[in-house]
């Protein structure tokens, strides 16, 4: 299928100075434009809240920014909402809005920026804010059949108090609860799948497949079974403890998440990480990406029942896990990042050994790739399956490999460089077909690219220290970001006067992409469902937090 992203070319991407100038001209006294701090380049404080949808539409569609997410914070006597936008190549823009506690109502931007839909639903569920004009609020993170109405667990209430009310918060499962069904037709029925399926080897997600005969009209994922309130339980804890949570809430990209967290703390402390640590972080981040992509490719082969290929890629993945463990002491790269650098250094012999393992894995992967591209029964199952066209991908703000397979070549490593990625030269792969096959090709290309980056990072290693002293300050806020294997990961942190976490916000790629997943699962044949799911490679636990 050839898709020309025509409507995407109507607007030109604006640089930050141009955005600031245009906003001042167009919106004048309704807002204040200033330089942001804590990782944000431009800060736009709104004086009149009703202007929020207009300004969001301007940033997303006219200035061609991507949407980052919403950070909600409860202050002394008002709510502070920060809407993040990324102007690729020039930095983060935040739109700040303050709402009095007495009337927690905010204008909804979902009609203008579709990607904000789930962020608003999340804030409504967890903070009890009301988004005026949003078509569907409620029953999101806190499942309606378990949680009573009116609970807003992320509100400013001490976590221990929440824990004490544990039994009161939970009411008995409501057997009469029914999901919302849309398809009304003679012979239509809804098929529930999950949250325990595939012998439990799938993640905890529930899918409601609304079908008419063999064809599935639409599939609605129900997530947040793994909701562990990571943002809430980090509150009141020291930074060293929050780091453990950042590392452990989503293991498939634990290094990227702990890195984004550490970058936020380092930005707050204004600490420069030693060059050796920066290169090692790039090395480890790319190792994680390579391992993750090998796993994702194995999953795709398995979903099409090509068992020999699936087994062989799975072997590659396990060997990469072992190589990671031999190199760092942990198969999933836990316990390495620390604010200021890395916990430990690696010898050049260890690096050479790692390179050997990586090269062996990648040459195997290369041979398998050629085999796969000549297996027509395999390609038939992937081509034209689960299509996300570039316009929808832009509309719903897809990030990561899934976005790049649909023409959205946004990559934080290049578009908002962190940790010295700016000095590395690499092309961000991009495909426009947006089908399962395009997503597979992107995974292969990125895996090879990661290998090259690992080689380059090792070449650039110079002797020196791997950590700088970094004491978290009293008071401070900062944003940290990293391109996780699945896409952009944002960690935002505010510390209180004693240096403890006051508010911690995690925005993940999976949260972004699960929202758009429904576009890929409209009017498809039932047997394609596992394949679409595998080519998306989304993590439920990273989304749920």
């Amino acid at each position: 299928m050839a898709v020309t992203p025509s409507s995407l070319r109507t607007s030109k991407r604006m640089k930050i100075d141009e955005i600031a100038r245009t906003i001042r001209e167009r919106f004048g006294s309704t807002l204040l434009v200033s330089h942001g701090d804590g990782g944000v380049t431009l800060s736009i404080a709104l004086v009149e809240p009703p202007i929020l949808p207009t300004i969001s539409r301007f940033l997303f569609w006219d200035a061609v920014c991507t949407f980052g997410g919403i950070i909600v914070e409860q202050l002394q006597d008002n709510w502070r909402l920060s809407y993040l936008f990324l102007s690729p190549g020039s930095g983060w823009i935040e739109v700040l809005l303050e709402v009095p506690s007495s009337t927690p109502a905010v204008p909804s931007i979902s009609a203008d920026v579709h990607a904000a839909d789930w962020h608003e639903r999340e804030a409504e569920d967890l903070f009890g804010l009301h988004f005026e004009g949003h078509p569907r609020l409620g029953d999101f993170i806190l499942h309606d059949q378990i949680w009573p109405e009116g609970v807003a667990p992320h509100r400013k209430l001490h976590r221990k108090t929440m824990d004490a009310h544990r039994d009161r918060l939970r009411h008995r499962p409501n057997p009469d609860w029914r999901p919302l069904l849309v398809v009304q037709d003679p012979g239509a029925f809804a098929m529930p799948v999950g949250p325990v399926y595939e012998g439990g080897l799938g993640q905890s997600v529930h899918f409601l497949l609304e079908t008419v005969g063999e064809d599935v009209v639409r599939a609605v994922p129900r997530l947040f079974y793994n909701f562990r309130a990571v943002e809430k339980i980090a509150e009141g804890e020291p930074v060293s403890h929050a780091l453990l949570l950042a590392e452990r809430f989503a293991a498939t990209s634990s290094f990227a998440h702990s890195l984004a967290f550490c970058l936020a703390v380092e930005r707050m402390c204004r600490v420069e990480v030693p060059a050796r640590a920066k290169n090692l972080r790039i090395l480890l981040g790319e190792l994680e990406r390579l391992r993750h992509h090998a796993g994702a490719i194995a999953g795709i082969c398995e979903s099409t029942a090509l068992s020999v290929a699936a087994s062989q890629v799975a072997i590659i993945e396990e060997l990469l896990l072992r190589a990671s463990c031999q190199f760092t002491g942990h198969r999933y790269l836990f316990g390495l990042n620390t604010p200021g650098g890395l916990h430990r250094d690696f010898t050049s012999e260890a690096c050479t050994e790692l390179l050997g393992a990586v090269d062996r894995a990648v040459s195997d992967l290369h041979r398998l790739e050629r085999g796969l591209y000549f297996t027509s029964s395999f390609l038939d199952r992937l081509e034209d399956v689960g299509i996300v066209d570039p316009e929808s991908a832009r509309d719903l703000n897809f990030v990561g490999p899934v976005g790049r397979a649909s023409g959205q070549a946004v990559d934080l490593r290049r578009d908002c460089p962190y940790e010295g990625y700016g000095a590395y030269h690499f092309e961000v792969p991009r495909e426009i077909e947006g089908d399962g096959y395009a997503r597979l090709r992107i995974l292969f290309q990125e895996a090879y690219q990661s290998t090259e980056l690992i080689h380059e990072a090792i070449k650039r290693l110079e002797p020196g220290s791997v950590s700088a002293s970094c004491e978290p300050p009293a008071h401070g806020l900062a944003l940290g970001w990293a391109e996780a294997p699945i896409g952009a990961a944002l960690h935002w942190l505010r510390l209180d006067s004693s240096g403890l976490v006051k508010r911690y916000r995690i925005i993940t790629a999976s949260f972004n992409n699960w929202l758009g997943f429904r576009v890929a699962v409209e009017d498809f044949a039932f047997q394609d469902f596992p394949i679409i799911l595998a080519t998306f490679g989304l993590s439920a636990t990273e989304c749920d937090r």
């Binding site: 905890s204 634990s254 799975a314």
Partner: protein, 251 residues
């Protein structure tokens, strides 16, 4: 299709010899901190103080490790002024605290064990490690163990994750749908003790507060071979470790 057939054959046998002989390939396990003796009481207290989750306690001149609480941050090994000993083993399946011993499933299950897994709030690591058992390097089919799609045909329930509020009901339903005799195995530190997520308003803090647990496999995450050891214990093909023994054992 003959292409894949030959590729498969040419790869040869990759499977581990475990449980016949021990697996010694590098990187199959991250290892674990072990109870270590120091020269002075102060040193033991210093060593224990490094642990962010209280898995290490100082008793006299030695620092005792409770693997049920360990989240593998490795601070006690790499950061500490008094580093603890480290052992690269993987046979960690333990009888839960307060239970005298583990009662294996009858012998008929020895070579036909059907497994169901429930992700009750897992970070993805333990689930991924369990999934690796289907990989040719571990291949549990050769031992007569199978992942099954339905709880109705399952003999053993592997639970990963600390049991979140939203997963409590699906977990209980899965358990109740299983026929007797059945065994519940908590896989990973989160499932054993709540791990880093602990007990909170959304987390039960471990499977044992929801279901009777027969066997615990600690580790964050528990590596594939540790899970495999646990499954061998379930049918009595390997012996479980007593909880007290884990605390006392030292290098």
């Amino acid at each position: 299709m003959s292409f894949w057939f030959w590729r498969g054959l040419k790869k040869g046998v990759q499977t581990t010899r475990y449980p016949r002989t021990a697996e010694v390939a590098a990187g199959v396990t991250p290892g674990r901190p072990i109870t270590t003796d120091f020269r002075s009481v102060e040193a033991a207290v210093l060593a224990a103080g490094v642990c962010p989750v209280g898995a290490i306690t100082a008793r006299g001149k030695s620092a005792h490790v409770d693997l049920r609480l360990c989240i593998h941050c490795e601070r006690c090994h790499f950061d500490g002024v008094r580093p603890l000993g480290w052992q690269a083993d993987y046979e960690w399946a333990t009888v839960p605290q307060g239970k005298p011993r583990y009662e294996p499933l009858p012998q008929a299950y020895g070579r036909s064990l059907h497994i169901i897994v429930v992700d009750a709030g897992d970070c993805g690591a333990c689930l991924h490690e369990v999934k690796q058992l289907n990989n040719p390097l571990y291949n549990i089919h050769r031992l007569g163990m199978f992942f099954t799609a339905s709880p109705r045909t399952a003999d053993v329930l592997l639970v990963v994750g600390p049991v979140t509020e939203n997963m409590r009901v699906p977990l209980l339903k899965t358990y109740e749908a299983m026929p007797d005799p059945k065994r519940v195995v908590a896989v990973g530190t989160c499932a054993v003790s709540g791990g880093i997520f602990g007990q909170s308003f959304v987390s039960a803090g471990g499977v044992s507060s929801v279901l009777p647990v027969d066997l615990e496999i600690p580790g964050d995450p528990a590596p594939p071979l540790a899970v495999l050891h646990g499954l061998l214990v379930v049918t009595g093909r390997k012996a479980a470790i007593r909880h007290e023994a884990v605390l006392e054992r030292s290098a």
